[in-house]
Symmetry: C2
DNA sequence: AGTGCTTATCGTCAGGCAGACGACTATGAT
DNA sequence: ATCATAGTCGTCTGCCTGACGATAAGCACT
């Protein structure tokens, strides 16, 4: 059949971001409050339209920078540049997911170290880091006792998918270091795993495992006592991206 | 800012399919010959526009049925219904990936047992199963000595991503059974792993591993000699989807 | 200075699993 | 009958993990 521009329906394409970080021993996601209908006043994932001349990854990186100020870590870049990890997550295109029109959203997953307070267009009250447990619980009450409204659109599903991706990916990759500052201790890395998985890990076995995996951690020579207790060695992320054998998430 | 329908550029949204199967000990993908420009006469992945009222998964299932006659396996369905496995792979949206217009393609991955010859609109010469090695080699020569033109658009990248997804996913899931008929032997399943990974596996250790993993295989009671040699027990895929501990892909 | 608390780090031991590989079994082909 | 082919069961060894004891080195008290 010949090419016919009227043969396909027009879509709007957006990128939505699941930006995760670890704060106060809890896995948190960036949420923004919607200023207009639909879902006005509800919390949602940050995102926006893909521009006419933009690649999907570029659009996601632009949105990430606008919301958090983070540069995206170029996946091809070999060295640690302290940018956030950014990868495509999945695409959501239910015809009814946006009541206004047909929107296909390409969700991306970003992992970032603990950041200062977020800013969404300079208005702090419209953006916050919220524990993912709180964002995902349906019809419950938050820690402040206020009722929790579910996220706008299908963003609860997107967030759940992003969290699951992060939980599984730190098993077999060095991605957990994306939650840490440039230099970090073994204990800090362990607390990342504990927060993301929601479990307690044995400090001794964890130490043996991560220091024994070639290319995972590179000692910087320095030490720190910022966690209290005995001074701990500082490490930087090594070049390895795949962990073989993987970290094992405890059963049940 | 208020809602402005003119604030976003229109996109065309397509689904492209990476349909994999194992034929004659080789991992093969379904390719169709393009009948019109651009890339007229070149091989490409099957795919098409998403319709106005269709979900992405529905569109992918429809395209799969049109090209192969296969029903998609509902991911929520508990029992084996002999449908093909279908899952979303990734989304490709480079502004220049289609010279005609701005197209975002949501690629899907389908895994199917060995099928009779494909049919694309009834014309067999326009669709074929080709070994993925052949489709992915650049500027070489196929097994018949003819020069191999690379796949149309960015389909080589999409195919490579799909193959990599399949290779890694059969490690930690029971997905390799999707390449097998309803009833199959341990040796047939092993040949699937060998074809997808391109390695030789020890039959004895493989047998111990798959029969020892709870929920992976369910014996049907029957036996077959269709592979020659001693009769082999027939199995059906068990309910387990995640293998823990995983199958290990041999190093190097 | 000493005591106690905290975190980091090293070591030991037993159990489980994977790779290497020997041995035996049950068919069809010659 | 003999051979070739594939399937199935065992054994052994080394590695990794989970459980957990023991020691080290800071800080905050008194």
């Amino acid at each position: 059949m010949p090419y016919d521009p009227s043969a396909f329906p027009p879509f709007a394409v957006t990128v939505d971001l699941v930006v995760l970080t670890v704060r106060r021993h809890a896995l948190c996601a960036l949420a923004v409050r919607r200023g207009e209908p639909p879902f006005q006043g509800r919390w949602a994932l940050p995102g926006g339209f893909v521009r006419a001349d933009e690649d999907l990854a570029q659009a996601a990186a632009r949105e990430l920078a606008e919301e958090t100020g983070l540069r995206a870590h170029d996946p091809a870049a070999p060295a640690q540049d302290n940018g956030a990890h950014l990868e495509q997550l999945a695409t959501y295109g239910d015809p009814k997911r946006d009541p206004r029109m047909r929107v296909v959203s390409v969700a991306h997953l970003a992992l970032a170290p603990d950041l200062p307070a977020p800013r969404a267009g300079g208005d702090a009250s419209n953006a916050r880091w919220a524990p993912v447990d709180e964002l995902l619980q349906q019809g419950g009450y938050g820690r402040d006792g206020e009722p929790v409204a579910p996220l706008a659109f299908d963003h609860a599903q997107i967030l759940a998918d992003g969290v699951e991706r992060a939980r599984s990916k730190i098993e077999y990759s060095s991605l957990a270091t994306a939650f840490c500052p440039t230099e970090f201790t073994v204990g800090e890395l362990r607390r990342v795993y504990e927060a993301v998985w929601g479990v307690a890990l044995d400090p001794r076995n964890f130490h043996r495992k991560v220091t024994g995996t070639p290319g995972f951690l590179v000692p910087t020579g320095g030490t720190t006592t910022r966690q209290g207790g005995r001074p701990a060695q500082l490490f930087r992320a090594g070049g390895a991206t795949l962990l073989n054998p993987p970290m094992l998430r405890p059963e049940v």
